[in-house]
């Protein structure tokens, strides 16, 4: 039995690739902003228009939203809902699962349509899924970035004095 939840990390190269893929998606779909959130509620990346809300709180609620809907899916006999859509009067959001570990949230307004966002999102989801699968595979095996906290016991002690 594993001790607890696995740790994962991503490098600046990963970040660059994620950002590039999302920027292209935003350009193609005319959506305003894309956020990536991990299933534990931590914000991974934000691309596009800078959100006016608190992105940390937003990330947490997104993960909770997705988890709650996963359970609802199970209750009706589905494995999960791999995407969710929340419609507002002016602003809407579309959420999609990436490699079962990360959630892509897209915010868009009436400058585009749900159809276009969905269509363009499919390719981005595939791209990001591949990217994140590689990141998680690396976290599980060799080739992970060196543990920056290794041997930092003294520094940790000092932080909490």
């Amino acid at each position: 039995m594993p001790v607890g939840a696995a740790s994962w990390s991503f490098t600046e190269d990963d970040f660059g690739a994620i950002t590039k893929s999302l920027e292209r998606f935003l350009f193609d779909s005319n959506a305003r902003c894309a956020l990536l959130v991990d299933r534990a509620g931590q914000l991974v990346a934000t691309v596009g228009e800078k959100p006016k809300f608190d992105p940390t709180a937003f990330a947490t609620l997104t993960a909770a939203d997705f988890s709650a809907n996963d359970q609802l899916a199970k209750l009706i006999g589905e494995n999960d809902f791999n995407s969710l859509f929340h419609q507002g009067e002016k602003e809407s959001m579309y959420l999609a699962d990436i490699a079962r570990r990360v959630i892509l949230v897209v915010l868009f307004d009436n400058r585009t349509t749900l159809g276009l966002v969905r269509l363009k999102m499919k390719q981005t989801v595939d791209e990001l899924s591949k990217l994140f699968e590689a990141v998680f595979k690396r976290a599980a095996g060799a080739g992970a970035p060196p543990n920056i906290l290794a041997g930092a016991d003294d520094e940790i002690d000092k932080l909490f004095q």
């Binding site: 039995m1 509620g41 609620l61 906290l149």
Partner: protein, 225 residues
Amino acid sequence: MSMINYASREINCKIVYYGPGLGGKTTNLEHVYGKVSPDTRGKLISLATETERTLFFDFLPVDLGTIRGFKTRFHLYTVPGQVYYNASRKLILKGVDGIVFVADSQIERMEANQEAMQNLYDNMSEYGYDLTRMPFVIQYNKRDLPNAAPIRDLQAALNPGWEVGDPSRMRNAPDPYHQGEQLVEQLTSGEWVERAPYFDAVAVNGDGVFDTLKAVSKLVLKSLA
């Protein structure tokens, strides 16, 4: 599931406050929120019912300092205390890095404490997490009340210790927070047991709140080191 972001130079960890209803989990977060400088914390998000019972969770992000150039961000969550919200309780445990069990010291709440502790073990093992090998601390809250049970009774009921299987760990480990007590010790029966560190608290006054938070955060960072 701690996340290390090399691009923004952040280490993100998730800590969950678990325990019986009305035990003081939200009060812990509120105290941290009130005391920490606004530059180092985010908004306190509360998904509560009209009667201020936590429905889904409370959430507070705090920065606890920098290690090796990386900002340490802790996301503090509480779960709903009532058992009938178990589905949402369990969701919050997803990806948890450290647990604080907030026990209500009042004698009348002993059974509720035990029930919540059992429920915590059950929910953790459903995710495949082993609580006995994770950063885990217990807070005995409401120590100021006249009907508070003695610490010794609470320890016996909620923190009796789990068996140590690994021979390399079978040696006394003094409790850094209580002089003369051991976190790992051999019982008279010959069996080695390990207990979670514990703290006395009066969360409404803030007593013990930061001691608890510091202890669990330190354990989480050490588990990554």
